[in-house]
């Protein structure tokens, strides 16, 4: 096991774009090399040590390497972007795009995460213990193919467009979501333990969504299929009595999307 500890140096002004903070890029590298890795801040490239004190404890393969970010990195974007292995622990809030396009490994954010967390994720686990922003686990703007695999766990609330264009994988939100959760979904599973505002599953053609709380404005293109008690969605068990809908007939004549809404 090896640990790389990044300690933020004071407040960051313009957001820093730090795709280099990835266990599979940093594993086995000496301190000086990690300190010298380049990150963008606005139009200039700077070494990582401008923003972090670096402490390297041992050297190991990426799978055995943990990056610990000990502080507030809410103004650092793209942490773990595209990572394939290893672990990142963020002991504070994280900025936008954390875990975007990650394909393997684990990211744990102890506080809130910014927008686009786990965007177009392919594999691995992203866990956010606080709230997440907009576009969690969604497709990039303009694209209709989002996350294809892996798991996102949000213990707080998430905002709009959770899992937009979801094609595979699983997103579980313990709190509430806002608008257009599962929009254009084609596969995979989204579970919302709290409430949703509107547009749940809008234009979905496949995949599953389950909402435990209240959907304030239900999408009009869904048709009721019946009621099920403790249904299992794939291997994910839901608890309680659910009304099952299929849709969205607004986009297709033969949609395969399933929406479970818990009876309250």
């Amino acid at each position: 096991m090896a640990e790389i500890v990044l300690l933020p140096k004071g407040k960051i002004g313009i957001n820093v774009e730090a795709e280099v903070i990835r266990p599979d890029l940093m594993a086995g590298k000496p301190k000086a090399e990690i300190e010298g890795m380049r990150v963008w801040q606005g139009p200039v490239q700077l070494p990582l040590k401008e923003f972090f004190d670096v402490d390297v404890r041992g050297a190991a393969a990426p799978e055995e390497t943990t990056i610990i970010i000990d502080g507030d990195v809410s103004r650092v974007k793209h942490i773990g972007h595209g990572m394939k292995a290893g672990k990142i622990e963020i002991r504070g809030p994280a900025g936008m795009h954390v875990g975007a396009e990650m394909a393997g490994g684990i990211i744990i954010v102890e506080k809130d995460a910014g927008a686009w967390a786990g965007m177009e994720m392919k594999g691995g686990l992203l866990q956010v213990k606080g709230n997440a922003g907009d576009h969690t686990g969604s497709a990039y703007r303009g694209s209709w193919r989002g996350m294809t695999g892996g798991q996102i766990v949000i213990e707080g609330n998430a905002r709009s467009q959770v899992g937009a264009g979801l094609a595979g994988g699983q997103i579980v939100v313990s709190g509430n979501v806002e608008n257009f959760c599962g929009m254009r979904q084609g596969g995979g599973l989204i579970v919302v333990k709290g409430d949703a505002i509107r547009g749940v599953g809008a234009e979905m053609a496949g995949g599953n969504i389950a909402v435990y709380g209240i959907i304030r404005q239900f999408s009009p293109g869904f048709v009721e299929m019946g009621r099920e008690e403790n249904p299992k969605v794939g291997d994910f068990p839901l608890e309680g009595m659910f009304v099952k809908y299929t849709g969205d007939y607004a986009i297709s004549k033969n949609p395969k999307g399933l929406l479970y809404s818990k009876e309250v």
Binding site: A139, Y140, R141, G142, S143, W144, I251, S252
Partner: protein, 589 residues
């Protein structure tokens, strides 16, 4: 300006009949010269091309690179941009976009690939200003744009009345007014019907209100073209494009101009060429692949190329570009609004559509050509069949109809397939079995050589659009546009497609007007290109009569008549080409 010598390369210059001879190319003041004086040679920039292939700079005669629909493609596809980026350097701008790059990136990418001249294939008159604005911001390349006329109200009205001369007066005035280079005809008579959610499906279908048929429009515009004597022939996008079984209407459309006499009445100085550099064709068929579908539905869909090729092989008045499909993401954009709507109904993707008042229309959708898709696989085979089965390379031009069939940066891949049977067979193995089952490509052994590639990518594209008075060859007086590929023709191994492709993608040098603009893919200079357009003239009296009609119907436009023209200040280094002046007497029928 200092001189440049490209020394000792194997030169491929088809318009001068030079097929791989070792030669030096001398350029002075931006033009090819026969020799340099001792002093000039001493100060010249010398490029050592020993063991390398030297060709004239690439000429793309059909690409969608500027204007409203191109920009619509950029705007509706942010996902096309975020993974395809280009960082700025000391002399270049940043840019982004894969299938529809930003204007700067387009210019750099073309130049890095050895192309120096690119023509925008469809400029609606009302969008001419926008088109010229984008071309103004495109670095390095020499450019021009063809104007869309096939569904223009004035054209349809005059041609219905049988008044070809008045139609010609209108075209002449429009080309001068909007700085257009040639006549483009898109789904003649059909796009007008699209305003009523309809189309035309046969050459003798009459459209709504104007009551004109595609046959009359094609015939009329071709006559207008030769009456004025434009440098290029009519550029045709046929009816029923993208529909199974359309190869027959395509053949019949080409027949319409059979027997017409190509006339180039431009006043330009012709650089020296051994071969005849004047166009022979009366019709230049755009992206033939999309117009040679076989079958009757998507179930029995297959290549209809053979039927079309049989006709083209026996005809002397036709040039085609193929519109290859090299697989991957694309953005379909055309003035053929109904064709794009039909594709949208199949893909269910996002869709943009525009009605351009009294002139034309357009549509844009994202597309993805997958090797595993039966339709895409056949289209891939068809694009290559067209260039391999038409015997005379002087009837063919290689394009991808960028970005409809594929992206221009995939040209090296298409060239590799044309040069290597092994490359085709390797790809066919990865494709849906329809690729070879429903085309004849698997049985084609022909492999094009470098001389033929030079015809397909520069000599014939330049000749077809009447630009061979200065482009597409290296005769004395031609523009000093040269591409040096790191390919030794004596050691060419077409069974190594990956290397071949890489060499075509990244030439050692791209030289424009004698100046090195790109070196192994790096942009090293960013001169401003020229903008070509035609200034045809007809009869003054006729023009006055015609303008009365235009002003009368201008009440249907959403802008004022005085705001219609595009002044020359929108063009960088404008090169107006005088056509038909002194005036040839017009006899009205």
């Amino acid at each position: 300006m200092a001189a440049t010598i490209i020394k000792n390369g194997y030169v491929f210059d088809p318009l001068n009949g030079i097929d791989g001879e070792i030669k030096d190319i001398f350029i002075k003041d931006g033009k090819v010269v026969a020799s340099l004086s001792g002093a000039e040679a001493r100060d010249a920039t010398v490029i050592d091309a020993t063991g390398k292939t030297v060709m004239p700079g690439g000429v793309d005669s059909h690409s969608h690179v500027a204007g409203a629909k191109v920009n619509a493609g950029r705007l509706m596809r942010p996902e096309d941009h975020y993974k395809s980026v280009r960082a700025k350097t000391d002399i270049t701008h940043s840019g982004s976009g894969y299938t529809v790059p930003s204007v700067y990136k387009q210019g750099y990418d073309y130049a890095a690939m050895g192309y120096t001249t690119v023509f925008e294939a469809a400029m609606p008159p009302l969008e001419a200003r926008h088109t010229h604005e984008e071309m103004r911001s495109t670095p390095i390349l020499d450019m021009g744009a063809y104007m869309v006329f096939g569904n223009n109200w004035f054209i349809m009205r005059y041609l219905k009345d049988g008044d070809v001369e008045k139609a010609a007066a209108y075209v002449a005035w429009m080309m001068r007014t909007h700085k257009a280079y040639g006549i483009k005809c898109v789904n003649p008579a059909g796009v007008e019907n699209w305003g009523w959610a309809k189309n035309v499906h046969g050459l003798d279908d009459h459209n709504i209100h104007f009551d004109i048929t595609p046959r009359e429009v094609i015939r009329g515009l071709a006559e207008v073209n030769e009456l004025l004597g434009l440098p290029m022939s009519l550029h045709l996008h046929t009816n029923n494009l993208g529909h199974p079984g359309n190869w027959e209407i395509t053949r019949d459309s080409l027949q319409i101009t059979s027997g017409m006499d190509p006339k180039n009445k431009t006043e330009v100085e012709w650089a020296e060429t051994k071969e005849n550099a004047r166009r022979k064709q009366c019709v230049y068929l755009a992206h033939a692949q999309f117009s040679s579908f076989g079958g009757t539905s998507w179930r029995d869909f297959g290549s209809g190329v053979k039927g079309l090729v049989d006709y083209v092989n026996g005809a002397d008045h036709v040039v085609i570009d193929n519109g290859a499909v090299p697989f991957g993401p694309a953005t379909a954009m055309t003035g053929d609004g109904p064709a794009i709507h039909d594709l949208y109904m199949l893909s269910g993707q996002k869709w943009a559509n525009c009605d351009i008042e009294l002139e034309c229309g357009s549509g844009v959708i994202p597309l993805m050509y997958l090797k595993g898709s039966p339709i895409s696989a056949v289209q891939w085979a068809m694009g290559l069949e067209l260039l391999l089965l038409i015997k005379d390379p002087w009837k063919t031009i290689m394009t991808t109809d960028h970005p409809n069939g594929g992206v221009f940066t995939q040209y090296p891949q298409v060239i590799t397939w044309l040069m290597s049977k092994k490359a085709r067979d390797d790809t066919a193995k990865e494709c849906h079995k329809w690729a070879y089952d429903r085309s004849s490509l698997g049985g084609v052994d022909r492999e094009l050589g470098l001389y033929e590639i030079a015809i397909l990518t520069r000599a014939n594209s330049a000749r077809t659009i009447g630009l061979s008075y200065r482009k597409g060859h290296l005769g004395v007086g031609a523009d000093g546009d040269v591409t040096v590929y790191d390919l030794d023709p004596t050691k060419l191994n077409v069974n190594d497609p990956a290397t071949l492709m890489q060499k075509f993608a990244r030439p050692d040098y791209t030289v424009k007007d004698g100046q090195i603009v790109a070196k192994q893919g790096q942009i090293v200079a960013v001169p401003k290109g020229r903008r070509y357009y035609c200034r045809p003239y007809l009869d003054d009296t006729l023009e006055k009569e015609m303008l009365v009609d235009v002003k009368n119907w201008f009440k249907y436009y959403t802008l004022g008549f005085s705001n219609y023209p595009v002044p020359e200040k929108y063009l960088t280094n404008p090169v107006p080409i005088q056509v038909n002046k002194p005036l040839e007497a017009v006899v009205r029928r």
